[in-house]
Symmetry: C2
Subunit: 189 residues, 2 copies
DNA sequence: CCCAATCTGTAACGTCCACTACAGAACGGG
DNA sequence: CCCGTTCTGTAGTGGACGTTACAGATTGGG
């Protein structure tokens, strides 16, 4: 079990994966070159390929890491908040913060990369399930269209990510979240 | 005036520019190769370069054409509708249709291409000016934050374009527009 | 202290890219 | 009918890309 012998890796795998994640996050899959990654990380191509695989594998590794760290806030809000309303409110207001945090790329990696359509659908379905649960249990009016509301939340998050990438301020994104939430149906009394 | 002599061009310049527009619209600037454009149009590279210039010029020509045709609906709504509310309502509902019209790429070219940040800002400022006018003339409540509302409209349009690219239906986009409009401030009576 | 195993840097591989040199074909004016 | 002019197709240019062959460096086990 474990490597029996051999020269030790000359770089911190997690640290390098983080730099790779930020590169893909900032520039997207296509615009990020392996040569650029070696320059950003100081790790030469053979070592990158040995540690992570080809460019596609580098990207999926970066996406996995993104979801486990920077993008974790969304599923956390859905898991930890009791109602859909509270979960979406927290998700969107935290998104305003996450999408404009200095020292990292702006916006959301998953919402920006065209090739991650599947992950976006998953996220939207999770929001829809949270809403549907509240409709079923009577916390939201019986007539509420859970799918429609989830699509609207998805649109808001995507719009916020796009605006963040174009340089929108944190306050502007908070206002977008607040305005969007004003379209939320009144809770059952 | 006019060319004095010489062989005539073997293709319809506008028709070819339209195919080029659709290619950039569908795949973006980077993912569109000149080789792909020659295949899509049947026009060889030297003729393309003679007629339009280099790849960057091809792209800006395509964007210009897009704004003059497919994307015209937005500025038309702002120009032709009397109130900001009516203009935005028409803009978003027509966007739902335009973004999902069969036989052409989905979503908006300007909202999808990262390099067109400037054009997006222009569009948002136009919406903001329309709203500010209604606030100044009393058609909207005096406390209305025109900028904040314009950013929200921009977020909605971007969200709709992104959803359209991921395959959202026309009905879903109409619902997003309707829900977003429910956040519009009540008009002054 | 040697050895098999693993990682490292150098330097290249073939492929695709945007772009163009060149020669010939099609045109209208004289 | 020739001529200058403009367009066209072929066939390349140099460069960037993702990926890897290879030889040397470094490790721990025996």
């Amino acid at each position: 079990m474990g490597a029996v012998v051999g020269r030790k890796r000359g770089f911190d795998r997690d640290e390098v994966l983080d730099q790779i994640t930020r590169a893909f996050w900032r520039d997207g899959y296509q615009a990020t070159s392996v040569a650029g990654l070696t320059e950003a990380t100081g790790v030469n191509p053979p070592s990158l390929y040995a540690a992570f695989g080809d460019k596609r594998a580098l990207f999926t590794g970066a996406v996995d890491r993104y979801q486990a760290t920077y993008g974790r806030f969304a599923s956390r809000a859905l898991d930890e908040e009791p109602t859909a309303r509270q979960a979406v409110e927290r998700m969107l207001t935290e998104a305003a913060v996450e999408y404009t945090t200095p020292g990292r790329p702006r916006g959301c990696l998953v919402l920006s990369a065209p090739e991650l359509h599947e992950l976006r659908d998953q996220a939207m379905r999770a929001v829809e399930a949270k809403i549907r649960h509240d409709v079923d249990t009577g916390a939201l009016p019986a007539g509420t269209d859970a799918h429609r509301l989830a699509v609207f939340v998805a649109a808001t998050a995507r719009g916020m990510s796009s605006l963040a990438r174009d340089g929108a301020t944190r306050a502007e994104l908070c206002d977008v979240a607040r305005t969007a939430l004003s379209a939320w149906p009144a809770p059952v009394p």
